[in-house]
């Protein structure tokens, strides 16, 4: 009667922390549409890098990207991306509020964001619509880029 619970107690205490298997980054999920047909249209070539971080490319002439994932800068309220679609370059600027979000005990914290309508230069991009303004770790589309 005595030993069973004692063994159980020390078994519980001895448990090591678990591993994190969840998505830990909240990224702006962006899909591409043709402005003429209104249908999804993946660019033949896509390059993206942060406006103030041009040494590290997020996408480098990637082909047939259906959903581009854009990380926002949690320490700022605004950040820009240089987007090159089929050889033509545009800049998209996001303005947002960020707030911490606990993912789980194992994974710790990330940042969630609430974005406003993004600004863009109109070289190849015709329109950007926000489909969901809360950027989380869930696989939900946030913006549609028409070009």
């Amino acid at each position: 009667m005595i030993l069973v619970p004692v063994v159980m107690i020390f078994s519980i205490v001895a448990c090591s922390p678990g591993s994190c298997f969840e998505e830990t980054n909240a990224l702006v999920k962006s899909t591409f549409y043709s402005d003429t047909s209104g249908l999804m249209a993946s660019p033949d070539s896509l390059s993206i890098y942060g406006g103030a971080n041009d040494t590290t490319l997020i996408y480098n002439r990637s082909q047939k990207v259906e959903r581009a994932l854009l990380p926002l800068d949690a320490s700022e309220t605004e950040c820009s991306f240089v987007v090159e679609i089929n050889g033509v370059t545009d800049t998209i600027t996001f303005t947002y509020n960020s707030y911490p979000h606990l993912i789980s005990k194992e994974c710790g914290y990330t940042y969630y964001y609430t974005i406003e309508d993004p600004l863009f230069t109109g070289n190849i991009i015709d329109k950007i619509t926000v489909t969901k303004n809360t950027v989380t770790t869930l696989a939900e589309e946030n913006i549609r880029i028409y070009y």
Partner: protein, 250 residues
């Protein structure tokens, strides 16, 4: 599970009367302290759990339960550091599933159902986050919250010495409401445990002081047992006896 009665226990056993048709049961008020929490704290300074309870026998089966406790919890890993501190109250009913002639007012093996409420504060002293733009470090300031949960327990308790019991309880808790900001909810809160899931489990080990306050007589009611060839044994009382119970007064 039950140890054989010692000589002292045999002398003090409730007297069976009327040819074992009834048994006297001593009803008690109990006050107990949980000892696993302080024992764990000796090996892990990150969690201190202090808990005590009182229970009041209504009869040989049911007892009213009330418990209270305090928890100071700390957790840290490579990317954040969390702490929570607060008190909790639990109230409910315990049910002794042992038959009275087996329990004898000294043994308890049964179930408990409780409602728990917790008042606590928690904070994340620091957390770090890293992505394409670099790493940032921030914190979540201390905030207070109420937590609510229900608890189902099962366990065993035995009176080792006169009016002194020892026993353990395994508990499953269902979170009703953590009372906190959904984005920076606590990973742990006092009374409930790890609040990342809607269920938590715990084991407690209690030392209990028993205060007898009333003696009742519980009848052990004979029940007929169906045997093959009932016709042949009809009228044979000894052959068809079995135990049952009915409380007949104080």
């Amino acid at each position: 599970m039950l140890a054989p009665l010692s000589a002292q226990e045999a002398v003090e056993a409730p007297e069976a009367t009327a040819a074992t048709d009834s048994v006297d049961i001593q009803l008690k008020i109990r006050a107990g302290v949980e000892i696993a929490g302080p024992a764990i704290y000796l090996t892990d300074k990150n969690i201190l759990n202090l808990e005590a309870y009182c229970s009041f026998d209504l009869n040989e089966v049911r007892s009213i339960y009330a418990g209270a406790g305090f928890t100071d919890y700390h957790y840290s890993q490579y990317n954040y550091s969390f702490s929570a501190k607060g008190s909790f109250l639990k109230a409910g009913m315990d049910f002794n599933l042992l038959r009275p002639e087996m329990a004898e007012g000294r043994y308890w093996a049964g179930l408990g159902l409780r409602y728990g409420i917790s008042r606590f504060s928690y904070e994340t002293a620091s957390f770090s986050y890293e992505n394409y733009w670099g790493s940032t470090t921030s914190s979540v300031p201390r905030q207070s919250a109420w937590g609510h949960f229900i608890e189902a327990s099962g366990g065993f308790r035995a009176e080792l010495f006169k009016n002194f019991s020892i026993g353990w309880m395994v508990s499953a808790r269902k979170l009703i409401y953590s009372g906190a900001d959904k984005h920076v909810s606590p990973i742990y809160f006092p009374g409930y445990g790890e609040s990342g899931s809607s269920f938590s489990f715990a084991i407690n080990y209690f030392l209990t002081w028993n205060i007898p306050y009333k003696k009742i007589r519980v009848q052990i009611k004979p029940e007929p047992v169906e045997e093959p060839g009932d016709e042949e044994t009809e009228g044979n009382d000894d052959f068809s006896r079995n135990v049952g119970r009915q409380r007949i007064g104080s």
